[in-house]
Each structure stands twice: as C-alpha cells, then as structure tokens.
Symmetry: C2
Subunit: 207 residues, 2 copies
C-alpha cells in the first residue's frame, strides 16, 4: 500500500548572499516531489527570466486585482515592486501530496504561517560569518561601498528574523547544507500528520 | 564556530517483529553522536548479553530503591520484569550535546514525554502489513499457534498507540527505513531550539 500524503510548504529565507538560491535549486533538481512556488510580480523581467517559470509577470492593476480577490496566500512590496503567491496552485499541490518550496523573505514567511500554518515548515539559511556575508555581497559586481552598506543593512534586517523559523542552517559548505535541507524535507514527510491513511492502514493490520 | 547543541531523546517503539532493533543498531553504528540508552532491568541476562552494555542487571530490591529515589526517568513492568532508564546519565548526555536512542514501548514513551517532553522525538515503526507481522512473529522459532496469538495480541496493543508518536516509519525495506530514521535524526539537529548559541552567533554577525 502506498500511503497518501499531504504536501508541505517549505519556506527558505535568508539574507541575499547566504547561498539560499543554490540550495533551493539543488533541492528541486534532486527531489521530484517538490517544486518552486512561482510568484507573481510587478517588477520587470530580467534578461533570461522566463514568464510563468521564474515569475509570472503582471502589471500593477492585475496585481491589485489579485490582492482584492484574496487570491494571494502572501504578498509583499520589496524595493518598490510587488511579489505574491497565488493561493489556488499551492493548495492544489498540497492536497495531491506534492511539496512546494518558497524562496521568500520574513514578511512572506509570516503571512504564509498565518494562512497555512499547519502546512508550513520554515528554514532560515545563515551565512557562516559576517566577513563571508560581506564578501558575498560585494563580489556580485563592482559596487561602491554605499551600495554594499545598504545591502548589509538589508541583510541584517532579514537576519534579525531568524528566530521565527523552525530550522536554521548555517551555510558553511554548500554540499553539507544541501544534504541538511534534504534531511529536513525527508523527515517532514515521515511526520505522522503528513501521512494520510495511517489510521486506516493500522486498523486493517490489527483487526 | 562550532555551534553548541542540546541533544535529543529519540524514542523508537514498535511491536516486536517490526524490525526496530535492526534499525536502532544501524543508526548507532552509522552515527557517532547517538548512543543507546542502557536500561536497568530485573530480568535474567540472556546468553550473550553483557551487563552494563545491553542492560544493567539488578535485583528487585535495587530496582525498588531506584524507583523510590526517583532516579529513573521512566520505568515499566513487562511480562513480570521491571525495566527502567536512569535519569543521571541521560541528562548528562543531553547537556553535552549527545543524543540518546531509546528502545522502549508506549508506556515508557509516555513517561519519557512526561518528564522530558521538550527533548523527546518519538518514532513508531510499523510492519508493512498484517501478514508480514504474523510471519515475523512466527519465524522466530517453532512456536505453537497459541504463543503466536498471544504475541499478535501484544503487537496489536503496542500498535494501538502509534498516534502518540511524532513520526511513523512503515518498515517495508530496511535500507529505506534506516535512511528515513537517519533523516529524522539529522533534521532534528537543525531545529532552531537544538542549536544553542545561535542568538550570539547572529548578534556577532549583524552588530
């Protein structure tokens, strides 16, 4: 007998530069039962981004409409752009036993917990040290110190919410961290509440 | 920086014949940071059992003394023999960041949760089917049907408590189940509350 399962919503948050995107990509590649949540956003598509895959790109009017229809499970404004997660697709996946991975910040995580608390497993990824974080924030391009300082402030703000998360991964080594993330996902699937039909399975066994 | 950790108490329960002992042994062999809890018992040592390793063998008077001194974190009487877990060694391991694995029944699990709830992660191992369970209960020797029926009744009783456990593993394949148990243990170590010193670590990063 194959046990039916209720999916989970895995939230991965971190300051930028902590390696979250790499970890998310690796998990998605290695695990066929989890997929990224595709956000809708009002920001411009960057070169190489695919509409409907990286994001669903919409204008502000359409985004406002989704908000007023209560069609988003969470949304936030970041650097003047709006980002949100459509409810329908998420709950459809959950009930069919598939997991969804969210790459969202602490604001999104808070909203997700509010609207789907029982299904949310949240993971915060920390950089291994301040030096390492600064290095990663700088090495992204030829940025002046003011830009880096601004990013560092944003990172500090994000990091200040670490204690709201279920799990914390200190990303010292990407292979180790990827394995840790995988453990969290696999363990969560063994949680009693996630395995639907256990009661019936047991009843048949001991009857 | 190496994060200090608070250990966990992993409880593995199952009806006999579900493969729990094999799973426990494999986890202990593969993971240097977890060790079996050594119970004290009033039952006779079986051939090959080592005092202080498999069990600490004591007489009834000594056992009663431990109970009256409140020196046992849990204890139970099973088939006329007493079994219990000494408090001191368990809490010593926890505070030094080491995990302890308990091979105890639902009664022991309940007591452990009562006395150390925050530190307990409990896992119930189910056989894959009733037929498989009966086969395993029979293949242990040349038992008559009455003995097997008695064992089946005991198994049913134990199984009836599955819903008190955090995790459930249906033991279809021992390799798969061993990997699942490992995931549960590894994920638990990443739990925010288990990683001591995170607050300080973060403070140093964002200061």
């Amino acid at each position: 007998m194959d046990m039916m399962r209720r999916g989970s919503l895995f939230v991965l948050s971190s300051p930028s530069g902590a390696g979250k995107t790499t970890l998310a990509r690796r998990l998605i590649e290695e695990d066929a039962n989890i997929s990224m949540s595709v956000s809708v956003t009002t920001r411009e598509a960057r070169p190489g981004e695919i509409d409907g895959e990286d994001y669903t790109f919409v204008d502000q009017a359409r985004f406002d409409e989704l908000v007023s229809q209560d069609a988003l499970i969470e949304w936030a404004q970041v650097f003047g752009n709006c980002y949100g997660t459509p409810k329908a697709t998420v709950f459809e996946k959950l009930t069919s036993g598939r997991d969804v991975l969210f790459d969202i910040d602490w604001q999104g995580a808070q909203q997700l917990r509010q609207h789907a608390g029982q299904d949310v497993i949240s993971i915060f990824v920390l950089p291994p040290s301040r030096d390492e974080l600064e290095n990663r924030l700088m090495s992204r391009g030829q940025d002046d110190s003011e830009v880096v300082a601004k990013r560092m402030a944003a990172a500090s703000n994000e990091i200040s919410h670490w204690a709201e998360y279920d799990y914390v991964i200190v990303n010292r080594d990407v292979d180790e961290s990827a394995a840790q993330l995988k453990s969290i996902v696999e363990a969560s699937r063994l949680h009693r509440e996630r395995q639907l039909g256990l009661a019936e399975f047991v009843r048949e066994m001991v009857d």
